[in-house]
Amino acid sequence: MRIFARDEQPAPSIDSDRMLAVRGLRKYFPIKEGAMQRVAGHVKAVDGVSFDLKRGDTLGLVGESGCGKTTLGKCVSGLVDPTEGGVYFSLSDEVQLQLDDLLAIPAENRTEAEEAELDRLEQLHRVDRMGRDSWRHYRRNCQVVFQESFASLNPRHLVKDIVGRPLRVHREASGDELTNRVVDLLEQVGMGRQHLYRYPHQFSGGQRQRISVARALALDPELIVLDEPTSALDVSVQAQILNLLHELQQEHNLTYLFISHDLSVVRHMADQIVVMYLGRVAEAGPTEAIFDQPMHPYTEALLAASPEIGAVDDSMPSLEGSVPDPARPPSGCRFHTRCPVATPLCGWDVDDVVRWLEDSDGMFDALTGVTRDSEFDAWFTFDSTEDAGRLGEAVKSDSVSASMRGALEEVTVDGNRIRLRFTPVDPVELTVRGPDHVAACVLERRERGV
């Protein structure tokens, strides 16, 4: 029974099958430089992500480290305020439609009435703008289980304090009742009364993760954000925890946002999957669709790279290079720098040339400056005429990829300077590939010859 003494009522829990809506979420972290801590740029950890989370579902969020999946999880759980866009909670279907309509209008075109209405809705539903009571309601209903159970449990607190803390904060129980509630919770995760008065270091990794889960369950939440809950565990323990999470989900009709880099675990747990790459959604859809018919080359590469016992394909095809700097993400499709099937339309730009120069012997040291007219058009200045000539030769030869050559519209050598101009392209949007299945790739599956 929840009692709110204040006049502002929180949005009621509704029976809509939508748990959470993420709309145009962006989170930029400033890069500070020098003694004055001047902001020199932004790391675009999450850069325009939208998805819906259904009640009782498990949404798997996968991607390499540094793709922004943990930041997204933190935005959803309200631990980090997004830079732009937002996470909307407990929306009924009409409100959702109303909100989407309002958000579709560009900010400068909104009338005053529309602005006021949007403001009202955001105060009720948007996680980082919620009024006090809505926020309290949200905090009870959204809990987090972190990856490092060692770091997320206070080493100086007893298990009873750790698991009982949410109950205390929300004034749910105290004294004997608190102890009984904590024992109940511990029993739900397969532990017991004998563990009440122990410290986190006295438990194994699996048990500590169980304590984290018990704490998350304390307030009977609707949504749990699981941030790599089993990455630090052994397979046999991982199996126990995954089974436990599934049982609890069945029992309490929980909704999970399951963040993991382990595809076999995500495949086992998730109903829906969102594949992220460098802060963007590369592909999203139902689990079977993603695994059986991946539509994005990045998803394919991830699937191919994850080893599986008895897999037919024994040669592990692997992805070239590493994830580019998220402070200067590549234009067009962000994956084009590593994509095995990249085309001239994928967004080759000046930064790609700079990256190529960095990897080639001696050329980068000879580079003295780059004057950009745009992302796709720049003058490269070198120490000597020969070096400029070498770059001019290189970009026409096999030493750069064919698709990059295809995107080059102009190469002008002028003494020790060289101008390179690429075909400008827009960011690649998500397009529908099947029921509930979207992918951000310029190619159709059949065009890739799959």
Binding site: E64, S65, D234, Q238, M269, E308, I309, P317, S322, D361
Partner: protein, 420 residues
């Protein structure tokens, strides 16, 4: 000190073991008692093969690996018994490759790694046996450039070759040469460095520096690092996880070791990077004919890279077999449990078959099967007697009474061999 030159290399006989671990016991002193971290482990690493050592956290796999290189801290560690015989590809110093008692007629330089002085261990460590650690972020020194760290291997083990490359005569006893010699062994103190920077010696020092850099660049290029000359001037924090692990591998393979110990080399990396590092290790292994001891907790990885697998549990090896046999016909209940716990496409959600219970405490363990208490096939005998590894097929050993019942034993459960 032994120096590998081509004419001294003895080809090992087919199927010979590069290292044999016999009844290794490593214990640790703790407040609660003696922890038997490794308790009677025996296995062979054959020449040129990749042996996988698999097990859960705390089963003793890392301690086993570290005892190869004398990296177990004593105290609190106690080498309680056993031996690790290591046969390098170098000729036996006492018979010159002809075969004698000391090298058990193989003609190869054979030593017991647990029973050699530290100076000899230093000559082997990094040269004949190299190790790649789990977390390259922690294993590399953050205060030294990549060049300095990779060069250390050459200063330690290949300084004679560095001198030869730089055209400095080793037998030259002049002060100038001995200063350079000390420089090549990384023994110079700052006054010597000042002398070396003065004109009469500077040319020699610079020559030494150039050849060292060339060697470091070659070693890095081996691991497919683009533009190694630029990369080697950087510091570890400037590199991505995958790049750091490449540097570690370059460092490990710089001296062309006979045995490479890879302790969870890809655990800290992403799957895409992991795949590339594994490809790299495989390729380099084939090129250098190095044997690899591959330690991992991930069975699916082991199935990709290893020729043979040894499964460890609570300080013991419970099953050893060729990789395809382990995965198609696992005989030990623990191996079966591990395999069943990996989530596969066919598993129904919430129906993963974990292994119930937790790993037992290893403080003064009683003489019984270590897996008793978690084993679905447990019998009375398992709680009173300790099973020993016994043959369960060609090159397949299992330590379980189901396969090796002592005469007269009763009450053992039947074990359906077809089930997987």
């Amino acid at each position: 000190m032994t120096v590998a030159t081509d004419d001294m290399v003895v080809p090992s006989r087919a199927g010979a073991a590069v290292a044999s671990v016999v009844d290794l016991r490593v214990h640790f002193r703790s407040k609660a008692g003696i922890v038997h971290a490794v308790d009677g482990v025996s296995f062979d690493i054959k020449d040129g093969e990749t042996l996988g050592l698999v097990g859960e956290t705390g089963c003793g796999k890392t301690v086993t690996a570290r005892s190869f290189l004398g990296l177990v801290p004593t105290p609190p560690g106690i080498i309680a018994g056993g031996s690790i015989l290591f046969r390098s590809h170098q000729a036996c110093p006492s018979c010159g490759g002809a075969g004698c008692d000391r090298c058990t007629e193989t003609g190869q330089h054979t030593v017991d790694l647990l029973d050699i002085p530290e100076s000899e261990m230093r000559a082997i460590r990094g040269d004949r046996i190299a190790m790649v650690f789990q977390d390259p972020g922690k294993a590399l020194n953050p205060a030294l450039s990549i060049r300095a760290q990779v060069a250390e291997v050459f200063y330690q083990h290949r300084w004679r070759e560095l001198l030869a490359d730089a055209g400095i005569d080793e037998d030259d006893r002049s002060i100038a040469s001995s200063l350079i010699r000390r420089k090549a062994r990384d023994l110079s103190r700052w006054p010597e460095d000042i002398l070396l920077s003065l004109p009469p010696l500077r040319a020699k020092r610079n020559r030494l520096r150039t050849v060292t850099r060339a060697r470091v660049a070659d070693a890095l290029a081996e691991t497919q690092i683009a533009n190694p000359k630029k990369l080697m001037e950087r510091y570890p924090h400037e590199l991505s996880g995958g790049m750091r692990q490449r540097v570690m591998i370059a460092q490990a393979l710089a001296c062309d070791p006979d045995l490479l110990i890879a302790d969870e080399p890809t655990t800290a990396l992403d799957v895409t990077v992991q795949a590339r590092i594994l490809d790299l290790v495989k390729e380099l292994q084939e090129r250098h004919r190095t044997s690899v001891l591959y330690i991992s907790h991930d069975l699916s990885l082991v199935s990709k890279v290893c020729d043979r697998v040894a499964v460890m549990y609570a300080g013991r090896i419970v099953e050893t077999a060729a990789t395809d046999v382990i995965f198609s016909d696992p005989r030990h209940p623990y191996t079966r449990g591990l395999l069943a716990a990996i989530p596969a496409a066919s598993h129904e959600r919430g129906k993963l078959v974990g292994i119930s219970g937790t790993v037992p405490e290893l403080i003064d363990p009683p003489a019984m099967c270590r897996f008793a208490g978690r084993c679905p096939y447990e019998a009375e005998l398992c709680r009173t007697t300790d099973p020993m590894p016994a043959s369960a097929g060609e090159d397949h050993e299992v330590a379980c009474f189901i396969h090796d019942a002592p005469p007269g034993a009763t009450g053992l459960p039947s074990f359906d061999l077809r089930v997987r």
